[in-house]
């Protein structure tokens, strides 16, 4: 059997987070009634002229700076002609020859811990199309043009990826970056990030690229991985049975987990690109770029490094905690208030994210803002573990109460529920003595050297004190009483 090398390039369309459309003043809010946000410009009425939204430039420049790209001081819009009812003008305004962002690269971390650099070819601004509904209209198609004119940044990679895993890692990185920068809300369920995957295979060790197919409109990371794997298997099967790959556009069907041909490149329309006559070239200055740079938040890679350095976290913990800006901010508040970075990392990762995961919540700004347990309260709770007021075990009880909104202030809850840890030897000694007296057999075995039984004695004392005894104190007392 031949060994094949997989070659993947991605085109990622990300919706920019703006109030209004790229070329009109219509709203971009998601979920409005059909066509209530499609104005005369979006509808392509005769005589209307597009204007350019300044925010799309800020966002495109921020993205370009985020990947170390060249920002073109002059960028030019072009007209891409095609005929389809989701684009009433009969063309899409995009940037072909002179896009705003050229070059740049990102470093992605793979599962085995290795780092792979993926080059970005370009990123250009363009407008989205409307939506077509093929069902429910008695043999006709219903068109909703609310999405027409929504600003997109199309990010085109070099064919640098060699596996579905690498492609997914790259797409995730881009998703994280655009979300960090506030370039996009990154909500994939609303189509804010859509991937087209260019896939080809070639015999291992050869240089020439094989014929590629383009799989369109994959809107989740899981589907991206599956679509690429399906396409690779299909291409291998075709070539190994003596066939040839047709250069074509394919559509991924997530229900059937397969790709199928949409249109062949050989009969594809010529888009007759030309410079958009309704818009002038856009000139920006270095001062403008510097101003955008000033506004940029800390990027994911820098944040992860800082977490490792300042909080002595391991790389994996730092990556999880820096996965979203909201989670990173939450963690840093917990660490500051609790006074212990490692403890904070542990509680946020295991307890908080575990609880959120059980309730199908992702650590987005929305969900972290909506939960009852504030970062401040969690930090105060950890401070009480640190100063010995409560044990880690009791802290989980308090955590649950805070999570369920039964309490907002850990100190008040600890006080009213009488959860304060008992560290006082005078108070604990009689209990320890009682446990020893009631378990003479275990006591004898312990004295004979079966020191593993310490856990048993501590457990008994904890049970009798409803978990409030300081376990450290208890084990010291047990040892003292048994061996003296």
């Amino acid at each position: 059997m031949q060994d094949w090398e997989i070659v993947i390039g991605l085109e990622i369309h990300t919706q920019l987070k703006t109030k209004s459309k790229i070329f009109s003043g219509a709203s971009t809010d998601f979920g409005a009634a059909p066509n209530t946000q499609a104005c005369a410009i979006d509808l392509g009425f005769p005589g209307v002229l597009p204007t350019v939204n300044t925010r799309v430039y800020e966002k495109a420049v921020a993205f370009g700076l985020g990947i170390g790209a060249t920002i073109n001081l002059t960028s030019v819009f072009d007209r891409k002609n095609y005929f389809y009812p989701d684009s009433p003008k009969g063309y899409q305004i995009t940037q072909l020859e002179t896009p705003i962002v050229v070059g740049g690269s990102v470093d992605v971390v793979l599962k085995d811990g290795s780092v792979k650099t993926i080059q970005v070819t370009r990123a250009h601004l363009e407008e989205d199309a409307g939506k077509s509904m093929h069902e429910d209209y008695h043999g006709q198609t219903g068109i909703d043009l609310n999405r027409a004119g929504t600003p997109l940044l199309e990010i085109v990679s070099e064919p640098d990826m060699r596996s579905a895993e690498e492609a997914v890692a790259y797409a995730r990185y881009i998703h994280q970056l655009v979300t960090y920068l506030g370039v996009s809300d990154g909500d994939m369920s609303q189509g804010s990030l859509r991937c087209d995957a260019n896939v080809s295979i070639r015999p291992m060790g050869t240089e020439a690229l094989g014929t590629r197919t383009e799989t369109k409109n994959v809107n989740s990371f899981r589907f991206l991985e599956r679509a690429i794997n399906y396409e690779v298997e299909r291409q291998i099967a075709v070539l190994e049975s003596g066939g040839r790959i047709r250069q074509e556009t394919r559509l991924y069907d997530s229900d059937k987990d397969e790709t199928r041909p949409m249109r062949s490149k050989e009969t594809a329309t010529d888009y007759r690109y030309f410079p958009e006559p309704d818009l002038l070239p856009v000139h920006i200055t270095q001062d403008y770029i510097d101003a955008v740079r000033q506004q940029m938040p800390e990027l994911p890679a820098a944040k992860i490094q800082r977490f490792v350095r300042d909080y002595a976290l391991n790389e994996a913990d730092a990556q999880v905690l820096a996965s979203t800006v909201a989670l990173a901010d939450y963690f840093e508040t917990v660490a500051r208030v609790g006074g212990d970075g490692k403890l904070a990392a542990n509680w946020v990762r295991v307890e908080l994210l575990g609880q959120m995961n059980r309730e199908s919540l992702t650590p987005s700004a929305e969900s972290l803002g909506a939960i009852s347990l504030s970062a401040n309260a969690l930090g105060m709770l950890l401070a009480r573990i640190k100063d010995g007021t409560i044990s880690g075990k009791i802290a989980k009880t308090v955590f649950a109460a805070l999570w369920h909104g039964e309490a907002t202030d850990p100190d008040t809850y600890i006080a009213t529920q009488g959860l304060t840890q008992v560290s006082n030897s005078d108070e604990l000694a009689p209990i320890v003595d009682g446990v020893i007296a009631n378990n003479p057999q275990q006591a004898a075995q312990y004295r004979e050297g079966k020191t593993k039984l310490m856990g048993f004695f501590v457990g008994q004392v904890m049970q009798q004190t409803a978990g409030k005894a300081n376990p450290q104190q208890v084990s010291e007392l047990v040892q003292q009483r048994l061996l003296d």
Binding site: T18, K19, S20, V52, T54, G142, V282
Partner: protein, 98 residues
């Protein structure tokens, strides 16, 4: 580049890409006309443009950018009053499925 002669097949291919339904009797005429157009383009290729930057717009002006504000109210009723067919807010068109 040598002059291109437009064949009947090329006329048919361009017609398909252009979504045009052309009369078979007109093909030879189109082929001749298109050959002449391409000859004119060839003639223009003779001009030396090596030190001229491509021009995307005849003026030196820069596109003014607009503030990111919603300025367009919902006028769906007015727009749909002149649409051939609508249903539940959607514009209806002949069925299109790729």
């Amino acid at each position: 580049m040598p002059p291109i002669t437009v064949t009947q097949d090329l006329v048919l291919a361009v017609a398909e890409l252009s979504q045009l339904n052309i009369d078979g009797a007109d093909i030879d005429g189109y082929a001749a006309d298109m050959t002449k157009v391409l000859a004119l383009v060839e003639q223009m290729h003779g001009v030396d443009t090596s030190d001229i930057a491509p021009m995307s717009n005849p003026t030196d002006a820069s596109q003014q950018l607009r503030a990111d504000e919603v300025t367009e109210p919902d006028q769906r009723e007015r727009f749909q009053a002149i649409a051939p067919e609508t249903d539940g807010g959607f514009y209806l068109v002949p069925r299109v499925v790729e």
